[in-house]
Symmetry: C2
Subunit: 476 residues, 2 copies
Amino acid sequence: MKRGQIGSKGIYEQLKIQILDKTYSPGDRLPSSRALADELGVSRTTVTVAYEQLMAEGFISARPGARAQVMPLALPVAIRKGSDRRKQAVSFSDFAKSIVEMAEPPAKMKCPVADFRYGALAVTDFPVNPWKKALGMALGSRRETLSYDDPQGNLRLRTALQAYLWRSKAIQCSAEQILIVSGSQQGLDLCSRILLTPEDRFVIENPCYVMAMNTFAASGAKPVSIDVDAEGMQTSALPGVKARLAYVTPSHQFPLGSVMGVARRMELLQWASVNNAFVVEDDYDSEYRYDIKPVPSLYGLRDESQVIYLGTVSKTLAPFLRIGYMVIPKDLIAVFRKAKMLADRHSSLLEQEAFAEFLESGQYERHIRRIRRKNSQRRDVLVETLQRRFSDRIEIQGDNAGLHIVVWLKDLPEKMEPYFLESAQKSGVGVYSVKRLYTSKSVQKPRCVGLVMGYSALTEKQIVAGVDVLYKVVSS
Amino acid sequence: MKRGQIGSKGIYEQLKIQILDKTYSPGDRLPSSRALADELGVSRTTVTVAYEQLMAEGFISARPGARAQVMPLALPVAIRKGSDRRKQAVSFSDFAKSIVEMAEPPAKMKCPVADFRYGALAVTDFPVNPWKKALGMALGSRRETLSYDDPQGNLRLRTALQAYLWRSKAIQCSAEQILIVSGSQQGLDLCSRILLTPEDRFVIENPCYVMAMNTFAASGAKPVSIDVDAEGMQTSALPGVKARLAYVTPSHQFPLGSVMGVARRMELLQWASVNNAFVVEDDYDSEYRYDIKPVPSLYGLRDESQVIYLGTVSKTLAPFLRIGYMVIPKDLIAVFRKAKMLADRHSSLLEQEAFAEFLESGQYERHIRRIRRKNSQRRDVLVETLQRRFSDRIEIQGDNAGLHIVVWLKDLPEKMEPYFLESAQKSGVGVYSVKRLYTSKSVQKPRCVGLVMGYSALTEKQIVAGVDVLYKVVSS
């Protein structure tokens, strides 16, 4: 060991290395603390502190009056070799095997003109100061201790949500049926874990929200894809299908944007009732309905025992907050509550309390009205610019609601799509294919280029400039 | 319908009910909007808005000039009957079946004198203003859009943690090996889902942290309990045990408080290496080490390919924040990242950024030093008061570290425990049994009353008063 400015941490580290690499072998005695202190030119206390740490960790033993002695150690082969390579392959669970090939959402690209990526919101739309104030109030809440909260979700938030869901979505439920989740993704995952087994099948829309598909498939259950048309999932295909669960986006089908009419809703519920199946209703963006009021959920049709409802603040406040909520049939509450506790104990309490404050004060609904207007304007600009530029060369779907539209470029054949997406991106515009949202065996797969165009993160200028670039790319 | 102050929402609701209960049957025509408006004494627009909503939801159809007509509906039996009772039992997944009987942690009790519940922190120990400021900075961060963040965790936080883990725990890892989780509970759950199958076994300490036991058992894998003594898990029992995973709390065994010496650490790692098993190291409270420096993690012993490290802010900031972090062997990063994305997309970004700010500014370590001093004082008061009151009638374990101690009441036989706990509670003091942390088949099960006593949420006055009450209860 070098003389000089070494401290007890340094002495400790070096002795540890010397014990591990057998410079000192088991049974060897270390120098006395006085001798080592002299040798290193440090105080005896400095050495003593290092020895105490080594003793506490079991590297050495010491009796009063005797010199410290190195303890016997069983040295694993890997440690002796200093290697961190694995000798045998890791054996994973079926869950791990099924997700390892799962595609992540497309990576964020540099799009200096406009990125029509779906799901992002504009930074200027977030209520920074009110949310900061609400978080501050949550931090200042009176509590007896800092401890875990209710796994099912903060009671104040569940009570506020119960009233909100009745006001805004005609959902009649008790606060006891509400489960607060860390984003609706966790809700999907809990449904998959609790309700599906590898022997089961689940019904999914085609095209669909791919993360939902992946989440249910991770259970080992097999998908049954049912095509979507202008009225949502074609429920006439349901009778005869044996499945444990059906995942639907009835208020605003993702991605095509259709609203499921009440006749099909009835057919879906009837199928679920006959088959003892659950309907998972993902109400991811029904706050954005531009022509009429938000469409009520399947709960509005009163059969509560088959429907699991999922809502989120990802499209109203920000995706990065990770707050979602579920309404759960009464006889499933106990098991969902326990699964949630195992999954992450409960969701962030401060964000739950801030959201409760937003709901109670009416700020949440005011905020939604404000950004609904802004998104309605963005949508108008996008649709008008597309129509002005492309006129009847395109077909637009799903523009009555939500934060995205689907655009079919009727005279661009499907096979040109990779080239088109790449050219657009080279010109600074991010656009995304509808095609990858279709499950592979679909008969309905589109024959021309189709785009999912999100607009909620863009300014009107960016929207116009982006469409102009797309027009130039198509024309060339 | 009644005349009067009805709006379009009321008209819509009432017509919907009349269609659902067949007052209007499919094919029936509704009154013209003019006629209904006259009848109700409202404007024609009010009626038109209601009709448009019913049309959008598929209840009625309308052609220009003709009266709206009720659409055919398939009415599920359950809806017709207005029933929400399930006719068949729900068939759950194995996961759901295995958790449905799982015990929740003991409910919070009213303890006016003192609640020695483990895991809670004092409200006065939370850095309210600094955390508020850090959250405010996170809210004000420059971003291009509001969108999802990296599933593995915010890069700024992972970078700050990488440096912190090296400084404070001698863990050498890259930021790429760090995964941010929603509390260490989520880390346990991910390990269970990814690494365990129903055919596997897992090694667990006896007594143990019961939530970890439950989480691993939820995979269907079977526990192998290994007894704990004053040096931690008795690793001499490991050779010959076939298991996929071992869960340990080596820095401060929960609940008994022992530190695992380096010889046993080596044996554990050697066993893992030979058996191709993983060691999940739960470092839940090593920040609170009162005699020496925090004990380095198993990572300090260099064999990184078998160790999964878990840390948390639950014991340093607050349990309700839900931030934890894992260090993961390089060849497992991809699958953990995907599992985390499926579980909840990513953890709350604002709390991640606030924690990064705390780490970068040095506030986190200053805060830990401050509350370590406070908890050291609380511990001193608790231990001294217990010793003064009970002298040699008790034995205290695990008081060198952490936020709890274990107290054995040597002359109170085990069978008196339920009566003792109840009497204490009636006298206003919450105390909790060690016994329920032992797995049922233990040979080492204690023969006298044993308590886990947490002190980090209490004032010194409460601690003294609580011990005084316990003494009276024991004496009577």
